[in-house]
Amino acid sequence: MKILLVEDDEALIAILTRNLAAQHYVVDAVQDGEMGWSYGSTFEYDLIVLDLVLPKLDGISLCQRFRAEGYTTPILLLTAQDNSTAKVQGLDAGADDYVVKPFDQAELIARIRALLRRGSTQPFPLLTCGNLLLDPSTCEVSYGGQPLVLTTKEYELLELLLRDSQHVLSTDEILDRLWSSEKFPSEATVRSHIRRVRHKLVAAGAPPDFIATLHGRGYYLKALEPGADIEAPAFNARFSSNEPTSSRHSSSGDSSAAIDILSEALPAADQALSARLQPESQQQYLAFLNETWRTTQPKCLEQIGILLQALTDLQDDRLSRQQQTQAQQAAHKLAGTLGIFGLTQAMHLSRQLENWLCSSEALHSKQADLMQTLAIALQQEIANTQTIRSSQLPGGLPLLLVVSADVEFNQSLVPVAIDRGMRIKIAPNEMALVEEPLPDVILFRFPPHALDEPDRPDASELWQTLQAYVHRYPTLPILVVGDRGELSDRLKIVRSGGNFFLESSVVPDQVISAAVRLLHSSNLSARVMIVDDDQNWLHMLPTLLKPWGFKVTTLADPQQFLTVLQAVTPDLLVLDVDMPHINGFELCQILRSDPDWQRLPVLFLSVLTDAASQSQAFKVGADDYLCKPIMGIELANRILRRLQRVRAWAS
């Protein structure tokens, strides 16, 4: 039996863990409410013991959250408040029992035992075959942990096959047992239901012949060979075929309807071994990373503060050895922390700074400028990271969310998406959207006539969902597929925030290509590096460009050009022409002669307005030439347009 203990008092954790372990309970202890939620919503527990007063999320709120999300795990509250108001509040929040501190250990364990006894009565046994699990008490069906969305008839069909898994069921038998005697469906009806259930099972990762046909005889469920089945569940306890994947009940009926389809194209052995490819694990891991990032981000920015202060002191030639060590430790911490969130660019910048700071030779104030440039780039990387996405993680795949009730359309996208290295999640209705994780690209498939009849309930809900997404995640790329491409429709889509429109006659390959293109262009916070010896401009430009969300790195000394370029890896470069030692044209030539950088877009920004200078710029490989002074919006537009062109060519 497994117990989750959510308690912030370390001494109490130690005592309780020891006493419970003596009773052969396995205990996971976490110290705040948010961690309690992360663990409780991710792992299977037989009981949750919750302290009432907890950091981040209090026990009552956590209890309410578990219940609101449909978790039925028994909950025992611990509290120091011995009054009936607190007790009533706790029990009303969904707790099953209540113990007041200080408590007698023996009594607490007896209460835990009693709660576990109460929870153990399963009114209906679960039906399983291989990774397929059907819970008759909740009517939930899942394969390998992924919920299946089935029609009533499809559900009945699977239940029948599961209950009679020892037999081959003929079409006639199925007709007899699933259709009332007043109805006269044909054998073709059974075949079409079988076909649809097979599709859904395959989409959830089942082999195509999971519902096997014995020609001339009928159908039966074919679980994997025992040997082949062992590794996956053993590797991921959550997906064990013999135990319920969750005590969670769908709180909103259809909200669990999203099917995450991942990797049936991969060899079975790889699938079994790569737990990160299991969609549920990946989602939970991602949710956990995002939760952790919320508290880690401010700490990272504090470390950046230490770094920047040290660099300011270095500029003024008053950096003490102790301060340098402190700054080096800050950079080291940053490198480690940022790496675990998949922020590789930021990690490399931190590591570069760490290497300089741990040098045994004394640092010079000259180096401070360069280091400060990188530290500011790092600060922007951290500050601009609001969400950790699966595509960032090592080996992570981008997630395409398809909001569409068109089963045929959805199914046609799956193999193409997988082939193009995307995960695809299908939400047949907008209810499923409330669920995490955040996708990398979202596709809305408008049903026929939804565009010309926007007041229809299904259409208006879809519009509202689209707008809600745009409002909440303004940078999330949105692709709309509809059956009409009139100007007024296109206008409405654009006004609602859709980034790309395709008519429904497109082939799946075009849809996925458009999604991939949007994904590439969605990293809106492009890195822009500006090299200019005019310090006033350098200070002004980041502010001018800020509203467009660019990550701007400025460099005054062209001699540090290559070092900064390689550390920052910009998406676009802005160069001044006249600079000491090396001019902008020469820098551009250096780029154009380098196989790694020859395609980097270069914009010149100079006070020189003469035709000869402009002509020279284009001759050495410039993509654009602008004259100072310039408005922020104009520069931003030129940068954006250039980036869009480059991305369109690249794709």
Partner: protein, 124 residues
């Protein structure tokens, strides 16, 4: 695969937390944590984990020094040690092997992959 106990020694608390969650999620293994070499050695002695994941770059007592200390304790010297190291240090892999570590895992990693990587290194 049977239940395993992993000890991670890393000075970064966030890394400990994320690795603990990831390994537990992927394989259901128990993960013990220690923030310094010294604490790690103590935990290894009392808890006898099945494997130790050891960060190379730690302040005070670094991973290499910690490994040598671990090897010097007869009751824990048989516990396999896998070093966690940044890519830049890959060139040092040979040196790590000469030391007698069981393997090296390169940072950054996806914690969900760790059970698989550990199992492969240790032939579990």
């Amino acid at each position: 695969m049977t239940h395993k106990r992993v000890l991670i020694i890393d000075d970064e608390e966030t890394i400990q937390t994320v690795v603990q969650f990831g390994i537990k999620l992927a394989a259901g293994w128990e993960v013990l944590t220690a923030s310094s070499g010294l604490k790690g050695i103590q935990t290894a002695q009392t808890e006898q984990p099945d494997v130790i994941l050891l960060d190379v770059m730690m302040p005070d007592m670094d991973g290499i020094a910690t490994f040598k200390e671990l090897q010097a304790c007869p009751e824990i010297q048989q516990i396999p040690v896998i070093l966690l190291t940044a890519k830049a240090q890959t060139a040092d892999k040979r040196q790590f092997n000469d030391l007698g570590v069981s393997g090296v895992i390169t940072k950054p990693f996806n914690s969900l992959d760790l059970p698989e990587q550990i199992s492969r290194i240790l032939h579990w």
